[in-house]
């Protein structure tokens, strides 16, 4: 009796598996928006469906991001920074290398986090399912998801213990890769190149000011900060430093950046005790 039941289950399962892939293949070959409504997202155990996000998008997102997802909603003239153009498939907040697509989780996190100092609020009021559906909806606007896979997330080693030596080493990294060219020696966003920065569409953009109590746009945990300078913020002047800062040095830099931020931190207190001076922009390369 039991074996017969198992056989039936197997047979039914095989039929479902064999029947499923056909419509999915058909969708991948078409590129117009309507045909991409089958787009899915996968976040943890959740599966988001683009078609289920239609009502939420029209109600909450369309005003800025627009009917076609090109960032040209009716609020476009009045918002700055400008709404993201989803058709381009280029995103600031990614765990993946520069020039690659973000993961579904990256977009899911951005939705909940919002983007500080912009008109993009925290959408933490949505259920996780709603957010997963909206991620699938965002993806359906760009042909890139039909042709490319998301990049492989960068590896972030476990955070080491903060030490005075690490903070000093972080200052050396800050000097060597010349973060101060835009962010300024004190992190006040007043470096020599700060005034002329533009985004990929040629619009003026400001470097992050560490001293105003603002949260970095792509998150304010230590791991977020690590990720920001290693992956870069695509679409902006902030490049990726993954090729030029080793993982261990990257943690040193995170600790040093904490000393520049106005928020109280262990690193800030340690820097005070060390009487750490800002880097010298006039020192020749390699001599700080």
């Amino acid at each position: 009796m039991r074996t017969r039941l198992r056989m039936w289950t197997l047979l039914a399962g095989a039929t479902v598996v064999l029947a499923l892939p056909m419509p999915a293949w058909a969708q991948l070959t078409q590129h117009d928006l309507a045909s991409r409504l089958g787009m899915e997202s996968h976040v943890g155990h959740l599966t988001g469906h683009a078609k289920d996000a239609k009502a939420d998008y029209r109600r909450y997102c369309v005003g800025c991001h627009g009917e076609l997802g090109d960032g040209n909603g009716e609020n476009f003239p009045w918002v700055d920074p400008k709404p993201r153009d989803f058709q381009l498939g280029v995103f600031k907040c990614r765990s993946t290398p520069t020039g690659t697509l973000p993961t579904d989780e990256d977009l899911f996190d951005t939705l909940a986090r919002g983007l500080d100092r912009s008109n993009m609020p925290q959408w933490s009021t949505f259920t996780k399912q709603q957010r997963a559906d909206l991620v699938a909806w965002v993806k359906h606007y760009s042909p890139r998801w039909a042709n490319e896979k998301p990049g492989t997330p960068i590896q972030i080693p476990a955070e080491p213990e903060v030490t005075a030596d690490r903070i000093k080493a972080g200052r050396d990294v800050f000097a060597r890769v010349q973060c101060w060219k835009c962010h300024g020696v004190l992190g006040q966003a007043n470096g020599p190149s700060a005034a002329t920065l533009t985004d990929d569409l040629g619009r003026p953009i400001a470097a992050f000011n560490f001293t105003e109590g603002a949260r970095p746009k792509c998150g304010d945990t230590d791991r977020d900060i690590y990720r920001i300078f290693m992956t870069g913020l695509d679409g902006t002047p902030m490049p990726s430093y993954a090729d030029n800062i080793k993982p261990d040095e990257a943690w040193d830099l995170v600790f040093y950046l904490r000393t520049l931020m106005s928020q109280p931190s262990k690193e800030k207190e340690m820097a005070k005790k060390l009487d750490l001076k800002p880097v010298d922009p006039n020192a020749p390369a390699g001599q700080q």
Binding site: T100, N147, E148, P284, A285
Partner: protein
Amino acid sequence: MKKPDLVLVLSMLVVVGCGALFFGRRVSAAGDGKISGTVKLDGTAPHMKGIDMSKDPYCVKANSGSPAHLQIYEVGQNGGLENVVLYISEGWTGSASTSTEVPVFDQKNCMYSPHVLALDAGQTFKVTSSDQTTHNIHPLPNPMTGNIPWNQSQPPGAAPIEKSWKNPEVIPVQCNIHPWMHGWHVVVKGPYATTDASGNYTINNVPPGNYTVTAWHEPDQTQTQKVTVAAGKPGTADFTFKAK
């Protein structure tokens, strides 16, 4: 005794001549054909403004010998125009990139060298930095073409970056740290050439056939000409641009 000698010499000449012709044709068919010519600028070259690099003392010092200026119109002897890219826009049936050459795009004295880098779609190129200052190399293709923008830092002593572009497109390249740094990656399909300081160019490896050659000059000036490459007879095409 004299007559047979003459016949012999004549017949030998004919044999050698035929052989040479035949050999020549075979070489051409193997891809030895060329399209060459000269690109000139009509009239006087517009004044190229000097570049203020005072944001970065390193860059000022690096250019103290000969101050840097804009490179839109680099005009040489007899009005020859440099940095014009020539490529086959119609008639090219060859396959994807077969070139094993890896062109270098260097950041030198806070300028791009070369200012215009021509590339075949899929061809690997290298980005290097000869400078003791940090650059960020930030090409700005239109993502809708299938070429994806990226942005990487190159501090002093950084390793070269190896990349390629998937599809033909004229891609502006910039450094956000040094906003005067502007260059071009001109991605084409098939063989290409860039004019030298005298405006001369040669596109190599063009098999016999009828082609349309396009000449591109920044930011968006193009001209085309029909060119025929015959066996053992390279094609020629001269172009003249007007200063904009």
